[in-house]
Symmetry: C2
Subunit: 179 residues, 2 copies
Amino acid sequence: MPLGRDYDRQDCAPARALEVLGERWTLLVLRDCFFGVRRFGDLRAHLDIPRAVLADRLATLVDAGVLERRPYAPGRDEYVLTADGLDLWPALFTLARWSDRLRVGPGGGGRRFRHADCPAGGADLTTGGLCPACGTLPPATSLETRSLDPDEDDGSRPERDDAVSRALRHPHRLVTPLP
Amino acid sequence: MPLGRDYDRQDCAPARALEVLGERWTLLVLRDCFFGVRRFGDLRAHLDIPRAVLADRLATLVDAGVLERRPYAPGRDEYVLTADGLDLWPALFTLARWSDRLRVGPGGGGRRFRHADCPAGGADLTTGGLCPACGTLPPATSLETRSLDPDEDDGSRPERDDAVSRALRHPHRLVTPLP
């Protein structure tokens, strides 16, 4: 029995969200957009993803209102998170943290995300994307990400050397374009 | 070019989480587990899902450490969220709320989730799963869900009449078994 594309007989919101987000590679593309990657070529080099698959995922995210396509030069577009797309940050953060913990245990793995605009001085986000210093759930635009300190790194991640990977070795404000 | 199952060349946690959660139906199964559904027959009747697909998704969730399989009678098992599974609540809530808003606009759609154990009197969860009364991110076990009030319901959801749908017409504490 084929599964209908719209889970017609279900009244469930997660089913509809997954229609957009559940396709392979889509969350990775979205993660890069939160990191500030905006251009097709940068996404492709960083994700090592086939051109046709990336084009398909970007089109789906634009259709869903998650990304907006904007010209930045004649004949060239970039992809920018919309307000609806930015709202997905807590889900993306929670999924990332959760899978990290399953893989390498509590506290291990992954990048750090600090509440840079925190009125209480800032701290690394904890469960669910909460800032433990001010007790709020900061928007992605007020966060800075950094890679693990050398003594925290378990060495399990392959080193990559594309432009996005190199830029992300330095602390970076989320959503703003990478240098 | 086939996509490898493990996104081998990516260091990204969301990719790994999606290996588990991205399969069609999996988030729906998980949502029902948060509602307190534990038995194969109840899941099947509520989700209207083919038997083989449900068995496959439950096995995947058990393998990933999200659900635990427990005997409740000779030869009969039920599926219960593990501690790791319970930690997925903020992501599930955020995805559900997000897709609801895209579909029916701000404030519309979906169920309500109230922080029943709130020291500040409790309120319906807002963005990211925050309780606006006490400012914390409550665990699923301290929440009560209820369907929309009749004047809030936009009538877009089909009425279902299985045992789980009937039980969920009344306020219910998350994670505890449905009556």
